[in-house]
């Protein structure tokens, strides 16, 4: 078909805007738009003609939560920062200063590589997150690498330099959501590779709606007794995919 033909372009655009162009035809029309100025012009004309019809629909207030959800979708880091501003005296992961420091320090690399991955999966590229040492970790804590398989179901961690831990202390890895409390991903080795079993990982770990950052805290040998981080956070890295 010759989509440059004015009458054809006009008829298609009319049905598209009216909503009666459906299914494959609708998809085709959308796919053709970028390459066909005549279609775009016809579309703009029909939008201008018919959209005023919608002016008579009585507005309906959307639910109160809708805007917050849009914000969370667009700017996953925003609620945490906003909550931190809203009240002081919250846990460390809500503190603005912590996130300032963490985002200043954190280098996040999304690199496709199989080197660090125990079991590379060719169909989805793995993601490597570099967690930088925080001030709390002292000069000894350089950085720690966490690589997550593309499907988010297997995670491998390794400190780039061995961490000097006091006796009877362990490192615990946390997934920090955009809002809400961090979630333990388990204990990790202070001087070597740790493979975290896939059944320990939450679904869609790499979805920015679920995970804003990864962090490592120093805890008692069996891990945090409270289910939330209790010791200092010595590594943190934001997830920016």
């Amino acid at each position: 078909m010759d989509y440059g033909r004015r009458d054809l372009a006009d008829a298609l655009a009319a049905q598209y805007v009216a909503g009666t162009l459906r299914g494959g035809a609708r998809r085709r029309f959308e796919a053709l738009l970028p390459g066909h100025p005549a279609l775009r012009a016809a579309l703009a004309d029909w939008q201008a003609r018919l959209m005023p019809l919608t002016a008579v629909v009585t507005p309906v207030s959307p639910p109160a939560h809708t805007w917050a959800r849009i914000e969370a979708r667009l700017w996953p880091e925003a609620p945490a920062a906003a909550a931190a501003r809203a009240s002081a005296g919250q846990p460390w992961w809500r503190g603005l200063a912590f996130w300032r420091a963490a985002s200043g320090l954190a280098t996040v690399a999304a690199v496709g590589l199989g080197v660090l991955l125990a079991n590379p999966q060719p169909q989805a590229p793995p993601v490597v997150i570099v967690l930088q040492g925080t001030e709390a970790g002292g000069p000894g804590a350089a950085s720690l690498v966490a690589s997550v398989s593309g499907d988010g179901r297997a995670l491998v961690t390794r400190p780039l330099q061995p961490v000097a831990l006091a006796a009877g202390r362990a490192l615990q890895l946390w997934a920090v959501p955009p809002a809400g409390a961090p979630r333990s991903l388990g204990l990790i080795s202070a001087d070597g590779v740790t493979v975290i079993r896939r059944e320990r990982l939450p679904l869609a770990l790499l979805d920015a709606r679920n995970t804003a950052a990864l962090a490592v805290s120093v805890e008692p040998p069996g891990g945090s007794p409270t289910g939330a981080p209790t010791g200092p956070v010595i590594y943190a890295g934001k997830l920016q995919l």
Binding site: V17, A18, T20, A44, A48, M51, L53, V57, A78
Partner: protein, 210 residues
């Protein structure tokens, strides 16, 4: 039919300004866009997608898309609310297509597809006016109203069902108990009649203005 920028309403200007600032990454401006337009867009979506939760989700998608595409909004070419409404209608119409592609569990219990309609209607937020009533109200708009009057009753009804409620040709045909081909030609002729009428009106306006 395109309204020159200087004739825009206060809301259109405020929306256009907020959209332009949003394109530069101004989040507060984008919140203003939401405040000025979400009630209208939610209503437009709800007419087409009557499941309130789905409609809410679609509304979120609309604003996510609008934020990302704010840079492509061109005040010289479209009114801001037209631009946003277009995004909203597209998402709503596409959601109907998705819903149809998914298995319909409720049809296990209802033998006729038509039985689903009253259910869907009952889930509607309130007693919203029917598409024909809306078209009558739309007819208050000067030129459009005049041109709507030029349509036959069947043409008007078909366009209203398709445009406001997102019904496909086949669904309009079922609703009006008419053959598909007849409904298709009603809609086609109605749109072409509207176009010709609106273009004549615009020419008259220009002639009067000159």
């Amino acid at each position: 039919m395109k309204t020159p920028t200087e004739q825009w309403t206060e809301r259109s200007r405020a929306l256009a300004a907020a959209l332009s600032r949003s394109a530069l990454g101004d989040r507060a401006a984008f919140k203003r866009v939401y405040e000025l337009s979400s009630g209208h867009l939610f209503a437009v979506i709800l007419r087409i997608q009557r499941d309130r939760d789905l409609a809410d989700d679609l509304l979120q998608e609309v604003y996510v898309s609008a934020w990302k595409a704010a840079g492509s909004f061109d005040a010289q070419r479209a009114q801001p609310l037209t631009w946003l409404t277009h995004i909203a209608r597209n998402k709503a119409i596409d959601s109907l297509r998705r819903a149809q592609a998914q298995p319909r569990l409720e049809s296990v219990h209802s033998e006729l597809d038509d039985d689903d309609r009253p259910d869907a209607d009952q889930r509607l937020v309130d007693e919203a006016p029917g598409p024909a009533a809306l078209l009558e109200r739309a007819s208050d708009a000067r030129q459009l109203g005049h041109c709507m009057e030029g349509l036959s009753a069947q043409q008007r009804q078909s366009v209203a069902l398709a445009f406001f409620d997102g019904l496909s040709h086949a669904e309009v045909a079922a609703q009006l108990c008419q053959p598909l081909g007849t409904v298709k030609s009603w809609v086609r002729r109605a749109l072409m009649t509207l176009k010709a009428c609106l273009e004549r009106a615009a020419q008259t306006d220009r002639a009067v203005g000159a």
